[in-house]
């Protein structure tokens, strides 16, 4: 269960989030839509602990724990995963090595046994196959020379392997063609369970044709200005965001 209560955050002197309230129960997928500059990416970075954002008011609880006091790695260990809008390149770092290091860091902290190279590869290959990706994904360097679509798929590979309790997708659909969009949607849908929840941040409605959300929220001017069922996304598609900020 994720609970965001009266969250205010700023970058430097500029207040971006002005009192966000949102609850996502386990097992649900919520979408956040909104115009450019509404604070969508800021919300995802504040939730995952990126530097440079100052929370001035409010709190964020995940399974009852205040995550705002946690380092980014501890949030990952607690089960939060951020799929990046612009996944970062790590030259010379093999994808398999990166994934295994990450998975084992999380397993170690959770008191689970670490996976050796053989056990890890077996697991990783199965995941690669389930996502209809080529096996050479594991051998390539993290995101180096990947196309936009490949980078997003790699995010889905990481997410599926790390098995988060809460996934935050920060405009993961931006710049994707329809095939890549489906892969992202398949990745999220495959994780759907009573123990999994997701916050899907998107500018466009089309991703929500493939990931049907339980609720849709509109973020505008640093606040949630409207909430509704999946049908709200269609309405926004038709009428745009105009006039919502004042609401």
């Amino acid at each position: 269960m994720l609970e965001i209560k009266n969250l205010h955050a700023r970058i430097g002197e500029k207040e971006i989030l002005k009192g966000v309230n949102l609850s996502i129960p386990d097992g649900q997928i919520h979408a956040i839509m909104g115009p450019n500059g509404a604070g969508k990416s800021t919300l995802s970075y504040v939730l995952s602990g990126r530097d440079g954002y100052e929370v001035t008011e409010g709190e964020v609880l995940y399974n009852g724990a205040n995550i705002l006091e946690m380092a980014p790695e501890d949030r990952a260990i607690a089960g939060i995963f951020l799929a990046f809008q612009y996944p970062v390149e790590l030259p010379g770092v093999g994808n398999a090595n990166f994934l295994r290091t990450a998975l084992n860091a999380i397993r170690r902290k959770r008191g689970q046994e670490e996976l050796d190279a053989v056990a890890f590869l077996k697991l990783a290959r199965a995941v690669v196959k389930s996502l209809h990706m080529k096996e050479d994904f594991l051998k390539r360097n993290v995101n180096v020379g990947f196309s936009g679509g490949e980078k997003k798929r790699n995010e889905m590979l990481q997410m599926t392997l790390l098995q988060p309790g809460l996934a935050i997708l920060d405009e993961t659909d931006s710049g994707l063609d329809i095939d890549a969009l489906k892969i992202v949607a398949d990745g999220v849908n495959a994780l759907r369970s009573e123990k999994f929840s997701a916050l899907v941040i998107t500018h466009y409605q089309r991703l929500l044709d493939h990931i049907i959300p339980d609720m849709v929220h509109v973020l505008a001017g640093g606040r949630i200005v409207r909430s509704g069922s999946a049908a709200l996304a269609l309405e926004l598609e038709e009428h745009g965001y105009a006039g919502l900020e004042a609401a």
Binding site: S48, G49, R50, D51, G52, A71, P72, E73, R75, A76, I77, F81, L82, F84, P87, V88, E89, L90, P91, G92, V93, N97, F98, T101, A102, L103, A105, I106, K109, N141, Q158, L162
Partner: protein
């Protein structure tokens, strides 16, 4: 948690900083003809060797310390140093006679000299201050005809080989530190691989400085005869001391027709503390001559230690079709200074060279790549590829690249690529959001940056080198 101010300030954990309590024999401070004679006599050297040393000493007296490198240090008082320090007990004839304190020292360093406990497939020559204290697996090697012994022993036992090759790659007059080394070198390793022999195991020398105020001047000579192959590795550590200590070594490699020499270094001399006090001055001349057709010399170095590193392992590519390689990782943290690189001198036709240099600077350190690619008139069809990459951690450090290219043959092809980058905050955040700690993230990124070089190291040492890189950067991001 403040990733935004990436600073390199924290202490470096140097786990080899202990000292060994052992009775030592030291010659009086300072350098004179008398000291040179004393060293030679102590080693029981023949007259020709003493003459050679005295000539070098006379040259050195007239030479000036070089000042072109991008390094700074207070003047070194050469008359205040000890030039010879050795365990007082007589030289051991076999491993059983080695002082248990010394065996313990090497065990603590992770270099067991007991053959049963030794690293599988690696023969070790252990040099403690001025002398070699033990060489393992000598019998196994001699069955293959390989000579692997302290150079002081080679001077007595194999004078014909030593006289033929010593000083032919790095002459005494080459530079100030080479002349100094030629006059006072006390020990080091000698390797000879006979024709057609592939050395059956990795050879390794482990250098340890222990005594205070003592310079270490080791000399290594490796000869690979026609079609011979050898892989050699050196490692170095020293105690933590407040004063600076001088290490001025010379390494000469000779590769005859079709011979291949791979020389790897993991240099971890004491780098000084976080304020820049103490540490080793590592002023080293390393050069290999590819004399025969199709011979190959490959240098791989991982330099993480020393207060100052001044070192340019080079190749003279004389034989037609010969190949020179230089793979380097130089990491500086705190107040360390490194000015390192290579020289590739192309003399023969169709000679090729490859230079891959990775410099990592953190803290207040300065890291310079300095390299020369020289194509002589006769080097028809010569080729070089150079890649120099620098990685900056924090905003108080410096990275500098000084490449020189001289070509006197129009058919030559020379390529140079260089990049400078910082560990980006979004890279760190990306790793951390996947559950990696900040330090693991830095280690992963730095090791990725160095991968092209690390993969050239022998397997056993590549793992060690990766750990060393992470340890040397501990606390550099905070």
């Amino acid at each position: 948690m403040s990733v935004s101010t990436v600073e390199a300030l924290a202490e470096q954990k140097y786990k080899y900083g202990f000292t060994t309590e052992i009775a030592m024999e030291e010659f009086p401070r300072g350098l004179s003809e008398e000291i040179v004679r004393l060293i030679s006599a102590r080693k029981g050297e023949p007259d020709w060797m003493l003459e050679w040393r005295l000539k070098a000493y006379a040259l050195w007296r007239k030479m000036e310390e070089p000042d072109w490198a991008r390094i700074k240090h207070p003047p070194i008082d050469y008359d205040d140093l000890y030039y010879y320090a050795a365990p007082a007990a007589p030289a051991p004839k076999s491993l059983d006679e080695v002082d248990p304190e010394l065996l313990k020292t090497y065990e603590k360093l992770g270099i067991p000299l007991n053959e049963r406990a030794a690293l599988a497939g690696v023969a070790v020559d252990a040099v403690f201050d001025s002398v070699s204290v033990a060489t393992t697996f000598r019998e196994t090697l001699s069955k293959a005809g390989v000579i692997f012994c302290p150079i002081s022993e080679a001077v007595r036992e194999h004078p014909e080989l030593v006289r033929q090759y010593l000083g032919t790659v790095v002459p005494a007059a080459d530079n100030f530190f080479a002349a100094l080394n030629s006059a006072v070198f006390s020990d080091g390793s000698f390797v000879y691989i006979p024709k057609g022999v592939r050395c059956p195991m990795e050879l390794s020398t482990y250098f340890r400085i222990n005594a205070r105020n003592t310079g270490q001047f080791e000399r290594t000579l490796i000869i690979a005869d026609d079609e011979a192959t050898v892989s050699y590795l050196e490692g170095c550590t020293a105690p933590m001391r407040d004063e600076n200590q001088l290490h001025a070594a010379v390494v000469e490699l000779v590769a005859l027709e079709g011979a291949k020499i791979k020389y790897s270094t993991v240099q971890n001399w004491y780098p000084g503390d976080e304020q820049g006090r103490g540490g080793i001055y590592n002023f080293v001349t390393k050069r290999g001559a590819c004399r025969g057709r199709n011979s190959k010399i490959s240098w791989t170095q991982v330099e993480t230690g020393s207060a100052i590193t001044w070192k340019y392992p080079s190749c003279i590519l004389q034989g037609e079709g010969s190949v020179g390689e230089f793979y380097s990782v130089a990491l500086t943290n705190n107040f360390q200074q490194a000015d390192t690189g290579t020289k590739m001198i192309h003399l023969g036709r169709n000679t090729t060279s490859t230079i891959i240099s990775k410099g990592i600077s953190a803290g207040h350190s300065n890291n310079t790549y300095r390299g020369l690619v020289k194509i002589m008139a006769g080097a028809q069809g010569a080729r070089n590829f150079t890649q120099c990459d620098s990685l900056l951690i924090g905003d108080q450090c410096g990275a500098h690249t000084v490449p020189y290219i001289e070509s006197r043959n129009a058919s030559a092809k020379v390529e140079h690529e260089a990049t400078t980058s910082k560990i980006a905050e979004d890279q760190l955040f990306y790793c951390r959001s996947r559950g990696l700690s900040q330090e693991d993230a830095v280690g992963l990124i730095v090791n990725g940056f160095c991968k092209d070089v690390l993969k050239e190291l022998p397997m056993e040492f590549a793992v060690e080198a990766q750990k060393l890189l992470s340890v040397s950067l501990e606390g550099s991001v905070g």
